[in-house]
Amino acid sequence: MTRETNRYFKFDWITIVLFLMLTGFGWMNILSASHMGDTIDYTDFSQPYGKQLLFICLTVGLIVIILSLESKFYERFSSVIYIISMLSMLGLFVFGKNVNGATAWYGIGGMTIQPSEFAKAATALAIAKHLSDLHTDLKLFKDQIKAFIIIAIPAVLILLQNDTGSAIVYVAFIFVFYRENLPKAYLVFGVLLTLITLSSLKFGDIATSIVVVISILTYHFTRRKKPAILKTLLALIACVILSFGVDFLYDNILQIHQKDRISLWLRLEKDPLKLQEMQRDILYNLYESEKAISSGGLTGKGYLQGTRTTGKFVPEQHTDYIFSTVGEEWGFAGTVFVVVAFVLLLLRILHLAELQKLQFSRVYGYSVAAILFFHFLINIGMVMGLIPTIGIPLPFFSYGGSGLWGFTILLFIFIKLDSNRINEW
């Protein structure tokens, strides 16, 4: 074997094949969701399917560039890449283009670029760099703070662009930190916080407080080795304050449409008439997408045969709601195929990450898996009505050049890093 062929075989082809499958299948569904009438002109760049085909072709060039750069480049320049990425998002406040109430795009010629899609890769690199530093120890408070600041900057910048969905993705890094020895308490507190918040909204602050107090006291007194009473008291007070504070936050911080979505998800509205009205107005997308998915049945209506897809009944179907096209036209068989493909891809990345000898590569790989997982979880969960509506694309599937390129860069940097695994010492 020549040295040349050897180099190609070092890339993890399983990941690449899964990537190609998802991107290809995704494009087929974009075509179905966006074509008008009988004639399909693949070179018609005014149509989403034509544009997306162009984006996919350009991706090949992007992949070649990423794979041909040295692995060391990404580690060395991670800070620079991160800074450039953050600056590009800051620049939006000056040069950005407003689309649908969100200032998240640069307009260049006829194209628009969304820098937040690229920021995920940049942040993952920066986190990998920070955590793989020999002096960094996530058990130390200052390093924890540092790590949280690295993810907070892009999250806040994106929130300011009014793109809540993309900002939430940065929570995914918690999994990365936990893997890299962040104390368990953070995870426990995170889960506890979420539970208390939801419970306060659903069952009221007093009921929640009572349950919390009883559980903490029970925990305190049943432990063989008694924890310090002060700690327990602090936790108690924090939890109670939180449960009473949730209502205040819910009423004063969230925007109306966000409150409505949460209210519907938790079934907070008791008046059936009002509930019906809310469902009709706010859940229109969800209603149509669930209807499209369930009308697909076991084997679907056939490619390009979906009546609800052809009739454009699901708004935003080629972007955030692309999964409903799969559901309608390919049925249960198609949707399970996509879910399984995503799960395999995520597990493969995690597996590869664990094999890395360099901590930088491992942390980066873990970040890739966590980010993709969050997108997968939120998007498909939302389309099926399992979680409240949060606008976020399905990786490799949803229409959008920036999104596709962002995810491709994210994934292929890891493939490049992984290919060097054998050479590392």
Binding site: G296, T310, V343
Partner: protein
């Protein structure tokens, strides 16, 4: 442990998703049905509705095209409204009003701009239609009646009601469905099967194009033509005779059970319920509470049968051996029973046997015969049960099972019926003596009487009366070709038939109604009746009834005539029966004197009496109302024109 957390979570989420997908796509999905998919517009192509012919292949009901001018407001371009309005024969104000209404309904969807254009207007408009963008002409088929009679038999079609749509998913909003008569009975055969075109639409309800290039579209299957048993000429003649009378004529062919004529008077011209004026006309007919033109009196008018029922009383007594044809009864002009009971008799008095009893319609004779058969067994209740079974075997007191969509059961009481009325069982033949002369608790409809007559004409069996003769090449329902036997032996019919023959021949109650050359057997009937007027039970003029069949041997027609408040059976009903029989058998009328009398007399004033609010005379004292000579001329000219 830390390595596996995300691992597990990913697998857990994957499984949750698959579970949710299973729930959405497999568990709750009950199969995709394109008809329920609101993303697909279903455009229906209505087939030709089947024609209706009479038994001699005269077309009774066909179809006529009707043209509606439709508008899609969004597609309308500026036009010459003056010219357009004059073509449509509407005013400019109407134009603006309708256009606004159409626009409010939907700017994108078609709306009926002007309904039911006449053929002439259509011809003129059609050439110029292309000038008016956004307007187009839609053709639809309406019923076209080639006869002005038989509305009760033919029925009508109208838009299916919401409950019908819910019951049968074939029908959609605006579809036409048979509502009465054969249109209802043979709805499925007549309507055919509509074709469907599937059209893909978008979420704004706009058409995009044919769904899958029309792979699922079906072509309409035309409705079948049907032939009914009605003899149009006889029906026509009967309706003419019933002018100015309320009641019905039912004529049946005894050898088949086919209904030759089913006349309900007053009726209405079926053409009234077609086209632009339909709903106004329907309301008018519906609200006519004196004439009740929408009610089929031949099938729905429940009444006491009166004297014709005596024939059944006699047959039952013969069968049970309570009497023989020779059993003699002396009539003194009044029949006394119990301590104080009396029943008058108009027969003239004297010795009566079976034949003269029937011919003279002697009340005393039948009261005696009835008591004999009811008292034959020691237990009155048990004898009533036996008696009731015999009577019911003539089709009385039950639904006949005709193929007409409506009917009434009538009433034939049995033992249990009276046990309920008289809980201490102290009833006997004298308690229920009125039954012997067809009054009391006996209730029938005219078609029951006609069928009973057919059973007597056949000497002991009948075929379920029906209206269908053939549906293209389809066989008749075996229900209509299997004879129903009565419980009376054939031998007992001969003396009874002889009695019925003597009604016409030997000084009987219908001797003046003889038709030369035809041996008719008949029986008159005069039924007392009462109405509650201002809270008081008031007697009205008697109902005039007549049953007959002819010829005596191998009868071809059995008939029952019921004329409300027509006094004696022979006065109105008897005359009409004789004329109908002559018309059917000879096709021309020799007894023009009868015909003239019937046409010239009217009972309209009788029907208004109960509503007049003043006291009134009945029966003989009331006299006969004659119509004006001009009106008579009109009726006679119709007679000439039609027949």
């Amino acid at each position: 442990m830390r390595q596996f957390l995300l691992f597990f979570i990913i697998i857990l989420v994957g499984l949750t998703f698959i579970g949710r997908l299973f729930y959405l796509q497999v568990y709750t999905a009950d199969g995709y049905n394109i008809l329920d998919d609101n993303a697909i517009r279903k455009v229906y192509d209505y087939p030709k509705r089947g024609f209706v012919y009479d038994r001699d292949n005269n077309l009774l009901v066909g179809n006529q095209p009707s043209y509606d001018v439709m508008v899609i407001p969004r597609e309308v371009k500026p036009l010459d409204t003056l010219e357009f309005c004059s073509l449509l024969k509407i005013t400019k104000e109407q134009f603006i009003k309708t256009y606004k209404r159409a626009y409010n309904y939907s700017p994108r969807l078609p709306y009926v701009f002007v309904a039911h254009l006449s053929k002439e207007d259509y011809a003129v408009l059609q050439e110029k239609m292309r000038k008016y963008e956004g307007f187009y002409i839609q053709k639809r088929l309406l019923r076209d009646y080639h006869t002005a009679v038989g509305a009760n038999v033919l029925g009508f079609i109208a838009e299916a009601s919401p409950s019908q749509i819910e019951e049968n998913p074939y029908y959609k909003m605006g579809d036409l469905i048979g509502k009465q008569g054969v249109e209802l009975s043979y709805e499925k055969e007549l309507r055919g099967v509509k074709g469907i075109k599937f059209i893909q639409k978008d979420r704004f309800n706009r058409d995009i194009g044919p769904y899958q290039d029309g792979a699922f579209d079906t072509i309409p299957k035309p409705g079948k033509d049907i032939t009914i048993t009605i003899n149009q000429k006889l029906q026509d003649y009967g309706e003419l005779l019933m002018t100015n009378k309320r009641g019905s004529i039912v004529a049946i062919e005894p050898s088949t059970g086919e209904i030759l004529a089913l006349i309900s008077a007053p009726s209405y011209d079926p053409n009234l319920l077609v086209g632009r004026k339909r709903s106004a006309n329907y309301t008018k007919l519906y609200r006519d509470s004196v004439h009740l033109p929408l009610i089929d009196k031949g099938l729905l008018r429940v009444h006491e049968p009166g004297s014709p029922f005596k024939v059944i009383v006699a047959l039952t007594a013969l069968q049970e051996g309570a009497i023989t044809p020779q059993t003699n009864v002396f009539c003194s002009g009044v029949y006394r029973y119990g301590r104080r009971g009396t029943m008058g008799c108009h027969c003239g008095g004297g010795n009566r046997d079976l034949i003269t009893g029937i011919a003279k319609s002697c009340n005393s004779y039948f009261a005696t015969v009835y008591r004999k058969s009811v008292d034959f067994f020691p237990n009155a209740s048990k004898s009533m049960d036996i008696w009731s079974d015999h009577v019911k075997s003539f089709g009385l007191g039950q639904y006949l099972g005709t193929d007409l969509p409506i009917g009434k059961k009538g009433n034939i009481p049995d033992g249990a019926y009276y046990d309920k009325w008289y809980p201490d069982f102290n009833w006997g033949s004298t308690t229920i003596i009125s039954n012997s002369i067809g009054q009391g608790e006996i209730l029938v409809t005219p078609i029951h009487l006609a069928n009973m007559t057919a059973a007597i004409a056949n000497r002991g069996f009948y075929f379920t009366p029906h209206i269908i003769k053939s549906i293209e090449s389809q066989e008749k329902d075996p229900k209509f070709t299997t004879p129903n036997y009565t419980t009376i032996d054939k031998k007992y019919f001969e003396p009874v038939v002889q009695g019925l023959f003597d009604v016409y021949e030997n000084n009987g109650t219908a001797r003046s109604l003889r038709v030369p050359g035809i041996e008719i057997c008949g029986k008159t009937g005069t039924a007392e009746n009462f109405a509650i007027i201002q809270g008081k039970r008031t007697q009205l003029s008697d109902h005039s009834l007549f049953i007959a069949f002819a010829p005596k041997d191998n009868p071809t027609i059995a008939i029952a005539v019921f004329v409300e408040n027509g006094h004696y059976g022979s006065t109105y009903a008897g005359r009409i029966a004789s004329l109908m029989i002559e018309k059917y058998i000879n096709d021309n009328i020799s007894r023009t004197d009868l015909e003239n009398w019937i046409l010239a007399h009217s009972l309209e004033d009788e029907y208004l009496k109960p509503f007049s609010g003043t006291p009134f005379k009945i029966n003989r004292e009331a006299g006969y109302q004659v119509i004006s000579p001009e009106e008579l001329e009109i009726l006679k000219s119709q007679l000439v024109k039609k027949l």
